[in-house]
Amino acid sequence: MITMEHVCKSYKIAKRNAGFGEAVKALFHRDYEIIHALNDVSFTIRDGEMVGYIGPNGAGKSSTIKILSGILTPDCGTVLVDGRIPYKNRIKHVKEIGVVFGQRSQLWWDVPVIDSFELLKDIYSIPDPRYQQSLEELTELLNLAELLRSPARQLSLGQRMRCEIAASLLHRPRILFLDEPTIGLDAVSKLAVRDFILNQNKTHGTTVILTTHDMQDIEALASRIILIGKGRILMDGTLDDIKKGGGNIDETVAELYRAYDIQ
């Protein structure tokens, strides 16, 4: 179970105007702006839930994921994931979670994918039989057999994403965070990734928290949707709550963003 209560996180960001002169000036005197990435955020996610976490760019989605995965320390509030405080018991915590950053690769560029997997086996201290079992299962479900022996740099984006997801699941995490997992993928790869995530949730009861801008991802995967904007939770409900009138989901969400004035 994941609980966040009254969590805040703010960043200090230096601002300056364009130009070389301004850059020199900023060397000596800097104007700062405080950005409230998260402002009193609270929610609870039960085991085995699939939650879509949506909001416009800069709404605080990534900050939430980073706090839940132990990368960032919140300024205030309490965070508990299966009874652990992520940023305090980091090592114990991250053994139980998997994180996929859609925009960043965790595979080694110049060696076959299987080499990266073997390293992960050591990093997570996965026992041999369990590793073999996971690997076999993931290879079959994500159709990796052909890919494992090619270096990551020679894979297409879709192929690579399938490998990334497999890499994040080798240690059988109970919770999976997906940060824009379908970004830039073609239709076939998208469908494959979605099917796979659904399957993991069903067979292993993995809790999935997913951020995305692709509303079809949400439609296909998330039974529950949390909408965040300007660091605040604006809505927490099911897909039907959002849809109401029916019609195109992209338009509905854009409507919602406008209604909350969070663009």
Binding site: K61, K66, I71, R104, V111, E180
Partner: protein, 265 residues
């Protein structure tokens, strides 16, 4: 013990994967390794030429200074071999790559060091080893057990000091986001001025290098013992004392990790 064993295994796994990556670009690898070797060899030539003119520096003969230089270079190279990965650390912090390190259940330092390992370091290590052997044989010292022990302790303590300096260098990136060139004064710079026993730079410097950054503990004092100028039995152990310097370095690192701000979406 089991934990250390695992950490070492993991580190070597990292090195192995790095080497496999580097072997993809073999011309680059061989050329850089050869280049490295030549560059560091000129350092030795410089000193050789200097001593053609002056045969003594502050009461140390050529062969004695050579021994000093050889040991210091060896210490530096050992630390560099393991810890040079920190050089790229500012990039890891700026781009948010460090996120990945934090979501894995292993010590952060091992992961950072493992993430980047240039093979060229072997070239420098080899060069240091050659210099080390040369320095030892040329020194004309009557070796006995305590003296050999002193050299081993010098290597241990020296590696620890340089390692700590590399950690401090990296931890500063959490606050500045940029690598700080001035830190090289203490790392690469120390290798340079460490060619000569530190007392040639004056008493204030000796004080600084005894109590603040303990270069003197790994170089000057044990050297005096090896050369037979001091005979107190605690002198061989002074270099081990220098390991205390790891403590503030690691604390500073931990402090830095807590300040990590990540970046990007």
């Amino acid at each position: 013990m089991n934990r250390i064993d695992k950490a070492v295994r993991l580190y070597f796994h990292y090195i192995s994967i790095n080497i496999r990556c580097a072997m993809q670009y073999k011309t680059s690898f061989f050329l850089t390794a050869a280049g490295q070797f030549l560059v560091s060899f000129t350092a030795f030539l410089g000193m050789f030429v200097l001593f053609q003119r002056f045969s003594r520096v502050e009461g140390f003969t050529y062969s004695e200074v050579l021994l000093c230089f050889a040991v210091m270079l060896m210490e530096f190279s050992l630390a560099e071999m393991f810890a040079r990965g920190f050089d790229r650390f500012s990039g890891m912090v700026r781009t948010g790559e460090f996120d990945r390190v934090l979501v894995r259940p292993q010590n952060e330092i091992i992961q950072v060091l493992g993430s980047k390992f240039e093979l060229t370091r072997f070239g420098r290590m080899l060069q240091a080893a050659v210099m080390f052997m040369y320095g030892i044989t040329k020194s004309g010292i009557q070796w006995n057990f305590p003296k050999v022990l002193t050299v081993i302790f010098m290597l241990t303590g020296g590696t620890a000091v340089f390692f700590a300096l590399f950690i401090i260098y990296a931890a500063l990136c959490f606050f500045t986001l940029e690598g700080l060139e001035f830190m090289n004064i203490f790392t690469d710079g120390a290798r340079e001025f460490g060619k000569y026993p530190v007392n040639v730079y004056g008493p204030k410097f000796l004080l600084f290098t005894t109590f603040i950054i303990p270069y003197a503990l790994i170089q000057y004092y044990p050297l005096l013992y090896i050369l037979g100028r001091r005979t107190e039995p605690f002198f061989p152990f002074l270099p081990l004392l220098a390991c205390w310097f790891l403590v503030p370095a690691l604390l500073f690192w931990k402090f830095g990790v807590r300040h990590y701000k990540s970046s990007g979406s």
